[in-house]
Amino acid sequence: MATKVFMEALSPTMEEGRLVKWLKNEGDAVKSGEALAEVETDKAIMELVARGDGVLRKRLINEGDSAPVGTLAGVIATADENIDALVAGAGSPAPAAGAPAPEKVVAGQQETAGASSVPRSGEEAQAEASTPPQQKVADIPPAISGGAPRTPAAPAGNAAPAKGDVRSSPLARRLASERGLDLNGVQGSGPNGRIIKRDIEAAAAAGAATPRAAAAAAPSAPVIPREGDFHDEPLSSIRKTIARRLGESIGPIPTFYLTAEFDLTRVMEMRKAMAELGDEFKVSVNDVLLKATAVALSQHPEVNAHWLGDKIRYHNRVHLGMAVATADGLIVPVIWDADRKRMSEISREAKELAKRARERKLKPEEFTGSTFSVSNLGMFGIDQFTAIINPPEAGILAIGTSEEKLVVVNGESVVRNRVRVTMSCDHRIIDGAVGAKFLQTLRRLIENPLMLVY
């Protein structure tokens, strides 16, 4: 029985450790609990101890080198055991992206030298992206790789299912499920790497750019997603690479911005015509923009999407979040199925939700579950601005003020009512051209509002 030695999380916040000094040579007999090496954490120099008895067969990290938590640092086995398969996986962070809980390592003692551990399904995708193919092959247990064909993304013989593999408190699970957080991506700071409330809060804070907005609106995964309301798409290689590379470049959400100016002439004409039929038919510019955005989203599911860490969820229903400023800060109530609602319904609902948001009377289901959001600062005379994405949504539309401007139409300068919108896009989901096409559709709808009845 071989025991793998991992770089362990020796402090609650440790992400990588520098191996200062090996205290055992290859070939030395070691006992469980004996110190193998000195490791410098983010806080102090600590001892990395053996989790099994045997001979330290292989040292896989050089003295002075740093390695992320979870990296295979060495192998303890009997003197004559074949450890080639274990050693082959060296260099890449092993199973857990976070700390391997001691339990996890102990479990490693049960593994035979041939059956090396394979990343849990949650981490599978990321590990695959960063692991060269030949190592990947070595990670598949030979004993079962000859069996039924299976996709590399989900080798059977894989350890426990992701859910059972992640240690978390009941409260943490509730918080995570409400916020749409995948526990696989959260580093635990409780006993033995157990995920507890503060870890979820930290993860949520890291994912949300505006803390206030996060507090009110972070829980934005659909409350009860039903089958058929969406379809999940596994990440393609290129999508994974884009996600990783761009994520490294800017914060947790690699955001880019697209700005366009739309002509509101026909919207204004339409509103005027409607108002002339009676007060009850009055709608605001914002109502029209909300309706148009919802319709455009229904035509562009590639934008109406959520980033779930290991997959992208494309929604078939449009639940439009609308940012509302309240005395306590930002909150984002949701107009459910906004694309299927008539303008009058949207107008009434938007008014009602905004009113109750300000009175702090929203029910939880009224500010969770949005698939895409809109923020409007037009009433403050803001020409244009960029809004912060409300994770895990793919984007947010920032609407500026609508005002009369001198523009050139057919070679003549004329006065036209115009509005500037800026879309913040999560580049992991939306590429520049995809976002641009969405805005193109939106332009067509706003500049030809009759299309909204099509």
Binding site: P12, M46, S169, P170, A172, R174, P364
Partner: protein
């Protein structure tokens, strides 16, 4: 002159537990203690007080015995006997700690220590000799606290008519009348003991409720029970005009808009403990203190001087034995180079052993209100518990305050028989972030008092069964 890895100054619950853990981790450990091992807890606090409270419990229970078909002969109460038994239990426990020291090869240096740099202490022994000892890895200050009296209102301890719990624990007989100043855990416990042994007890508290750190519902419940037992409970009380005589003390007490003169044989001051920070050379080493005069420590129990640690009462409130014990474990593991889970000060239970007992963990309802938390309360009275009725102890309740949204246990409060034992189910639940649903899902044996915990959880969910 001897050399150790770590030296603890003070052998109370913080120091002795820390020393045992340090020794278990292979550190050569010594403890400097001038009195007896176990400190205030074993010698002047928890243990002897609980022995007396047990005597009080039996005394009270005897009154009800005939209801159970057991009619005793003449019941005689002798505080002296109870006291001697309590001293014996205390000594036995202290010896137990001595045994643990031997078992773990910990050196007990008898004497009074003073820091001599961060890596050494000088110890003055009883015979006046001074010796120096090295501590290669660390020195841990665990000197504890002491009762300090209330000289500001004229209640300077004189150990005869104005006493502290130390003297109360060694009285040969109960006074005819006693005023207890301060209705925290200590005050309430002694009120219970002296009332059971026949003293006329007046319990004085400056705050609006007795047991001011507990949930107000609990305070009220105990106050009701005390009043039933003819203990005079005066809250919001202001004391003035204190005159300490040879065998009595008089004072003016203003409470509830009334002023009255009080004359008692003895005043027990059960308010205010001061950390033992003097005479250990803190200033010379540059150890910083908090505004309230405790030693300032980091989450790793380290003082402002590297390599010098402080734990227990001297390192700040809550001044509870179990808080000190856990700090001792943490500091030992830190010194041994381990990476212990840091102390979670929000999950320290409180326990008061008067009858009915009071125990709690987490926030009181008032604290939830102050923090504007959205919460729901579940409450189950022991009156509705089958087990409580069988023993005829139906006072009190279990109260659970849960988060409205997620059901996390914000606070749990129990008043009643065995409350101090019952609380721990909820301490485990809260520490591990269980919600009330997990508490309810755990099957509780019938008939037990613990069923009340499950019922209170259910009540917080609006689903109580037995009430």
């Amino acid at each position: 002159m001897a050399s150790f890895d770590v030296i603890f100054i003070g052998g109370g619950p913080a120091g002795y537990v820390g020393a045992i853990r340090a020794a278990q981790l292979g550190l050569n450990t010594a403890v400097v203690e001038r009195e007896g091992l176990g400190g205030t807890c074993v010698i002047w606090g928890c243990i002897p007080a609980k022995a007396l409270l047990e005597a009080a419990y039996i005394a009270e229970k005897m009154k009800k015995a005939p209801e159970f078909g057991v009619t005793p002969g003449e019941v005689k109460l002798d505080y002296g006997v109870a006291m001697k038994r309590s001293r014996a239990v205390s000594t036995q426990n202290s010896k137990g700690v001595e045994f643990l020291f031997k078992k773990n090869k910990i050196t007990w240096i008898k004497g009074t220590a003073k820091l001599a740099g961060k890596n050494a202490v000088t110890v003055k022994t009883a015979d006046g000799k001074e010796e120096k000892h090295d501590a290669k890895k660390a020195v841990v200050i665990s000197t504890g606290s002491r009762v300090k009296g209330l000289p500001q209102i004229g209640l300077e301890l004189n150990k005869k008519t104005v006493i502290s719990s130390d003297e109360a624990l060694t009285l040969e007989k109960t006074p005819k009348s006693i005023a207890i100043v301060g209705a925290g855990a200590v005050g309430c416990e002694f009120a219970d003991v002296f009332a059971a042994f026949g003293s006329q007890v007046t319990l004085l508290e400056v705050m609006p409720n007795i047991l001011p750190v507990e949930d107000a519902d609990c305070s009220k419940e105990v106050e009701r029970a005390f009043k039933k037992r003819k203990i005079d409970v005066l809250t919001g009380a202001k004391i003035s005009n204190v005159k300490v005589g040879k065998d009595s003390v008089s004072m003016t007490v203003e409470a509830g808009g009334e002023k009255k003169e009080l004359k008692v044989d003895i005043v027990l001051v059960a308010a205010g403990r001061a950390p033992n920070i003097e005479e250990i050379g803190l200033k010379e080493q540059g150890v910083q203190l908090t505004d309230r005069g405790f030693i300032k420590i980091s989450e790793r129990m380290e003082t402002s001087v590297k390599g010098l640690y402080a734990i227990g009462d001297v390192a700040g409130p809550p001044m509870l034995a179990h808080k000190g014990e856990r700090e001792g474990v943490v500091v030992a593991e830190v010194i041994a180079g381990q990476h212990p889970h840091l102390f979670d000060y929000t999950n320290v239970p409180g326990a008061t052993y008067c009858h009915p007992e009071v125990a709690s963990v987490g926030l009181t309802e008032q604290q939830c209100k102050d923090r504007k938390l959205e919460y729901k309360v579940g409450k189950f009275p022991f009156m509705a518990s089958g087990r409580a009725r069988t023993s005829g102890e139906t006072e009190g309740f279990v109260k659970i305050i849960r988060g409205a949204k997620y059901g996390e246990i914000l606070g749990a409060h129990i008043v009643g028989s065995h409350a101090t034992e019952l609380i721990h189910e909820l301490v485990v639940a809260r520490t591990n972030e269980y919600t009330v649903e997990e508490v309810d899902l755990a099957i509780h044996a019938h008939p037990t008092l613990a069923e009340a915990v499950a019922e209170a959880s259910l009540d917080s969910l609006g689903k109580m069964i037995h009430a």
